[in-house]
Symmetry: C2
Subunit: 318 residues, 2 copies
Amino acid sequence: MNRICELLGVRLPIIQAGMIWCSGWELASAVSNAGGLGILGAGSMYPEVLRDQIKKTQAATDRPFAVNVPLIYPSIEEHMASIVELGVPVVFTSAGNPKAWTDHLHAHGIRVVHVVSSVKFALKAQAAGVDAVVAEGFEAGGHNGREETTTLCLVPAVAEACSIPVIAAGGIHDGRTTLAAFALGAEAVQIGSRFVASHESSAHRAFKDAVVEAGEGSTRLSLKALTPVRLLENDFAHRVWTAEADHASPEQLAELLGRGRAKRGMFEGDLAEGELEIGQVASRLADLLPAADIVASIEREYRALSAGIHDPHFAWPE
Amino acid sequence: MNRICELLGVRLPIIQAGMIWCSGWELASAVSNAGGLGILGAGSMYPEVLRDQIKKTQAATDRPFAVNVPLIYPSIEEHMASIVELGVPVVFTSAGNPKAWTDHLHAHGIRVVHVVSSVKFALKAQAAGVDAVVAEGFEAGGHNGREETTTLCLVPAVAEACSIPVIAAGGIHDGRTTLAAFALGAEAVQIGSRFVASHESSAHRAFKDAVVEAGEGSTRLSLKALTPVRLLENDFAHRVWTAEADHASPEQLAELLGRGRAKRGMFEGDLAEGELEIGQVASRLADLLPAADIVASIEREYRALSAGIHDPHFAWPE
C-alpha cells in the first residue's frame, strides 16, 4: 500500500501543487475527481475568497482535497479558522515554521504536509509532527530554496533521512519523471507547471499559452536577494536580471518588484510586466489539457513504464 | 540489448566521467576492469603525460576505455594524434564544436561521444555525427551549462529529441539515481563525484576527504561570468562568491582565479586556496571506496531496484 494514498485518502499518489493565482476550485476539484489530490493555493486569496473557494470545491467533489497555506500569510488565523470550520481534510504548509500550526490542525483531525528544500528542514518538519514532506528541487517554479539542490539530489537524501513519506516536486510532469521520482524513494509526486497549463487552472489564458510556448532555458531562479523565485523570461524578468547583474540592492529589487505583479502576470495576463512563476519543465509542455487527462496520462504512462521495467531498455546485460 | 554497452563494448552502462586532476590510469583501468567504461581526463594533461597515461591504462586493462578531450584544449592536435596512434577505442569530447574532430576520429574507427547541457547542442552533436551524447545537468560538478537545466528536466528532453543514445550525468552516484536516469530515457550513466572519492582517483587525499565530509548546500555554480563551474565551498570559493556579490568584472574574476588553482586544490590538496570542483551529490557520499566496489554496488542496487519494481513501493493502487 502506498503510504501517501492511505494518508490522504486518494486513489493515486499524484498531487496538484497549490499555486498562487492558478489553483482555484475548478482545478482542485478536477484533480481530486480524477483520483489525485487537488489543492487550493491560499497564498493569493483573501480570507473570504478562500472560504468561498473551499465551499465551491466541496460542492464540486466529494473526494479529499487540500489547501496550501504559506505560513507567512498575514491573515493566517482567518485561513486556518476557515479550514477547520469547513472541514478541509488536508493542509499543505510552506514558507515558515511547521511547528506553528501542526498540532492545532492535528487536533482537528486534519493531515499536515510541509514543503521543504533541504534535509535540514525536512527533519525539522518531521520533528514538528507533520505527516509527510514535499521535497521540492531547484527546477521547480515559484519560490524555492537557497541551496539550489535539485530534485534528483534532494529526494533520495530526504527519503533516506526521514521516516515519514516523501512527496517529490520540481521537474515532474509525466509518467516518466514520476517513475524517476519513485526510483529516488518518493511515494508521491507534486506537480505544478503541468497543471498551470490545464483547462481548469485559473491562470490567464495568455499566461497558459506562454507556458506552452516556453523554450529551453527560458526560466531562471531570480530575486535571490529577496526570496528566490523561478521566473519565466519576459520584459519584467529581463529588468530584474539586468538589475541583479548591475548589483541592485535588496531594497532596489523590492521596489522594482513592487506589489501585485504576480496577479498582474499570471491572473490578468500581462505578459510583459507581470511576474510569471513557472518551472523548468515549461519547455517540455506542448499543449493545454483537461486536468483529468493529465492525471490519466501520468497514471497510464507510469503503469506502462513500471510494468515494462524488464523490457530491453531497463535490462542490463548479465 | 543496451545500445551503449554495444557501442562501447562494455558489460555495464556505467561510465566514469573524465575529470581533470582526478581521473588518471589507475581509476580508468579500475573502472574498465570492473565492467564499466573508465575515462582518462586529458584536460589537465600535457601531451606527453596523456601518452604515458594511455600506455599505462592499456597495460592495466585489456577492456575498452576512453579519453575525455575538452575541444578548447590548446594542444589538441597532439592529444588526438596520440589517441589515434595508440589505438584508444573511444573519445568523449566536450566544451567545443563536435564537428571539429568527429569525422577524423571515425575514420580511425574511434567511437565519439559528446557532452551537452541542452537539447539545442545535443541536436548539433547528433548532426555532427557523434555516436552518443552525455546530457549533463546543473547539479554536476565542474564546468556546466548556462541554462542551469537539471538532469531531471534535461535527460528526457534530450532522449526525446535525439535518435542516438543518451548518457545521463549530474547527480548520479548509486543504483537508485541510475534507475531514475533510465526511467528518464537514458541508456547509461556517467558518474563523476562518486569516483573522485575512490581509492584509485588521482585526487589528493585531502580533497577526497573534503568531498566525503561535504554537507548539504556546500557546492555552488560559480564564475558564471567566465565559464560556469560548480565549486565546493572553501576560502577561495567564498572569495569568488563575495567578488560576484560585489559585482566583480569578468577580468577581475579571471585575475582572482589566476592559474593553476584546480591543480593546487584537487591534485595538491590545498583545501583553502585551491579550486575544488565537485557535484551536488558530494553531500550524499559517506566513504572512500575502491572503484570496483562502486561499480559493483551500483550494479547490485540497480538490479535489485528494477527487479523489485513490482514491490509495494512502486505499486499504485488499482
